[in-house]
């Protein structure tokens, strides 16, 4: 049986359907990514898994325990890293971690050891006695993680943990996630940064408008859009005649006008590039640059929804 099972979950806010019959099965020991634009229903799904929100319909089990029946048992197995920093700014870093550790039932020597371990893990051991209000944004993010892993949870849920931080801290956090996973934790990682999810996660579910529109490994998802590569062309003087001729080309599947040129989708960019350049030159369009892109999760999302992840 999967470690986390979300079965047909539904959550409504008034007339709005935030989560629409969403189902997921996450295996023990994997890093599972939830990818989707803002407002797709990722955070709502996470809040239901953690027991912060009740479902209108469906069921969720973690480690075989139903969240509705034994919510505290489920919560004991989870370490939630919230999207927003959730720290007591006027208390030292070690006191923050220790307080949350106590609430997970840790006491005495074991608590002290776990606090040290958590701070060491996020690289803040030397700042243990300093208050978070003296920390940089990245350090606060790392302390935010330390507070969530002090009890060595079986399931770690990270809700957009790298929002608004410097690249160095971002890399540190991503490496921490891999390390936690190597230590045996199952990780659910949500983001709207496609590259982050692609590089980190074993499997990814793409969520849009409250339901899963695609789920699998990065390779599996790429294969779904393998027949489509993107040509990004910066050009000027592209008139109706150019567009009309490009649209008539049998191997160009879609054309999107951008502010400074065109985005063209084709099964093989290398084969069609000569034709495209020829059509442009014929109609006196001036080409400034051409970039050919391999299909990505972004492409898949665009393919499935007609929108980009950041729309």
């Amino acid at each position: 049986m999967s470690f986390v099972v979300v079965n047909n979950a539904v959550k409504r806010y008034g007339d709005k359907l935030s989560v629409d019959h969403l189902s997921l099965a996450i295996e023990a020991g994997e890093i599972f990514g939830l990818l989707g634009p803002n407002g797709a229903g990722k955070s709502t799904t996470i809040n239901m898994i953690v027991g912060l929100l009740s479902m209108d319909q469906g069921s969720i089990t973690v480690d075989g325990i139903d969240i509705k029946e034994r919510p505290l048992e489920v919560k004991r197995r989870i370490g939630l890293v919230p999207q927003d920093l959730a720290l007591y700014e006027n208390m030292p870093a070690a006191d923050n971690v220790a307080f949350f550790g106590r609430l997970y039932g840790l006491r005495g020597g074991e608590l002290k050891e776990r606090v040290k371990e958590a701070l060491r893990f996020v690289g803040l051991e030397e700042r243990a006695k300093h208050r978070p209000d003296t920390f940089s944004g990245g350090m606060k993010r790392r302390l935010n993680i330390a507070c969530s892993i002090v009890h060595r949870p079986k399931l770690i849920i990270m809700d957009e943990p790298t929002v608004g931080i410097d690249p160095q801290s971002r890399n540190h956090i991503l490496e921490s996630v891999r390390e936690l996973n190597r230590m045996g934790s199952t990780v659910i990682y949500t983001s709207h940064y496609m590259e982050e999810v692609a590089s980190l996660c074993d499997r990814v579910a793409i969520v849009d408008q409250g339901h899963v529109i695609a789920c699998g490994t990065e390779q599996e998802l790429r294969e779904r859009v393998a027949g489509e590569e993107k040509i990004v062309m910066a050009a000027s003087g592209i008139g109706e005649a150019v567009l009309a001729e490009l649209k008539q080309h049998p191997r160009i599947t879609r054309i999107k006008e951008t502010g400074n040129g065109l985005e063209l989708y084709t099964p093989s960019s290398q084969n069609e590039l000569q034709d495209i350049l020829y059509i442009c030159a014929k109609h006196d369009a001036v080409i400034h640059s051409v970039v050919c892109e391999q299909p990505t999760l972004e492409t898949l999302f665009l393919n499935l929804t007609g929108r980009t992840l950041r729309d």
Partner: protein
């Protein structure tokens, strides 16, 4: 157990901030010192309040009588009345011929009070007609009050005599008055035994409280109620800083989180009570009475009321800022109505004060200070308990209706 973990952490957070510590523990001591000294004139030390002698000008136009010149009002014994030791101790009188001179003396501060007696006063009284005196107050309200009381007492007797004249006729009335005087009866005009004011005491032993005791009690109550502000801020901050979101995701029930925070703030308030009571006892010599258990009970009830106020206002307010403003306003109004800043002699305010937590707590503590027995104090404690029960019920309803989550 988790409840106490939250409570202990709350206590540590509050006591770590220097500004909070100063506000909680130092400010009450300073305020008690300032108010106790500055307003000590409004209180006595257990003896009678001393009223300074007032200089009164009596404007009495001279008239020709059968026995030559004589003082007006002589027929009603005004001079004897004013010369009586009890009265002369309080009023030093001087006669002047015109009202203008009297007013000038009052303006210049040469006199404290003036009385203008009309020329036909005696004739009008004897004829059973309306007759009036003009009382002109000076600058000192205390002396004005003393002089007004004395002359009012005299005029009451004149009214009584006039009533007798109207009912019995002048001759019979004079005989009746004479009979009363020969019997040494109280109430005769000019009788030195006449007394319209009795001095009472707050308790059987004639003890009263000092200004330091009064303000120690009222400030203790006010600052314990102010702990609701800390609780309100703490409840709101947990939401603002998103730590409540994290706490809600942990294996702790929402009620435990809520009660833990309230318990933490209550502990700080109780610590504050200990510091105020101990500090005022040692530094200012305030006597809090002999029933420490009752004093602790009163503090616990006030803290309970304070926390319930915080819960009701914070949960029902739209924002943290509104909640803070409402808490402060409610506490200041309750303290004012209960006479916490200064005892107020206005009946309407006193009546309104009876609907405040401060009133019952203050009265209970003052009675403890006066050494009243537990039975007497318990009457006030019971009312305070009733206030707490009502607030507790409202607090529970607010929590059930709104809850405590993100």
């Amino acid at each position: 157990m988790k409840l106490w973990t939250i409570a202990w952490f709350e206590l540590r957070m509050l006591t770590r901030t220097r500004a909070v510590v100063l506000n909680l523990f130092l400010l009450p001591m300073v305020l008690i010192f300032i108010l106790g000294n500055a307003l000590s004139g409004n209180f006595t030390d257990g003896g009678e309040a001393a009223v300074e002698q007032a200089k009164v000008i009596i404007v009495e136009p001279k008239t020709e009588g059968t026995a030559g010149q004589r003082e007006l009002g002589a027929g009603f014994g005004l001079r004897e009345f004013l010369d009586a030791p009890e009265i002369s101790q309080r009023l030093q009188t001087e006669s002047i011929g015109s009202r203008d001179d009297a007013v000038r003396a009052l303006i210049q501060g040469n006199a404290d009070f003036a009385v203008v007696i009309p020329a036909d006063f005696e004739e009008r009284v004897m004829a059973g007609k309306a007759a009036t005196w003009e009382l002109i107050p000076g600058k000192d309200s205390m002396k004005n009050q003393a002089a007004t009381m004395v002359f009012q007492a005299y005029l009451d007797e004149v009214n009584r005599v006039q009533a007798a004249i109207i009912a019995l006729g002048p001759k019979a009335a004079v005989e009746a008055m004479g009979a009363m005087e020969s019997m040494g009866g109280r109430g005769a005009v000019g009788s030195p035994e006449t007394s319209y004011v009795e001095t009472a005491s707050l308790n059987a032993r004639g003890e009263t409280y000092s200004s330091f005791q009064y303000y120690a009690a009222s400030m203790l109550i006010m600052f314990l109620l102010y702990s609701s502000l800390s609780a309100s801020i703490s409840l709101s901050e947990e939401k603002r800083t998103k730590t409540l979101y994290r706490l809600n995701a942990m294996p702790v029930s929402t009620l435990e989180i809520f009660l833990g925070k309230i318990a933490g703030n209550s502990l700080v308030a109780f610590l504050q009570a200990v510091v105020i009571i101990g500090g005022t006892t040692w530094f200012y010599g305030v006597d809090w009475g002999r029933h420490l258990g009752l004093l602790v009970l009163i503090c616990v009830l006030v803290i309970t009321a304070s926390m319930m106020l915080a819960i009701i206002i914070t949960l029902l307010s739209g924002s943290a800022t509104v909640a803070r403003s409402v808490v402060v306003t409610v506490i200041v109004i309750m303290t004012f109505l209960s006479g916490g800043f200064q005892p107020l002699p206005i009946e309407l305010i006193q009546r309104m004060g009876e609907f405040t937590v401060n009133h019952w707590a203050l009265q209970a503590i003052l009675r403890l200070m006066l050494g009243e027995g537990p039975d007497e104090v318990m009457k006030y404690v019971a009312m305070l308990g009733l206030c707490c029960l009502l607030l507790l019920a409202a607090g529970i309803v607010s929590y059930r209706k709104v809850g405590y989550h993100e």
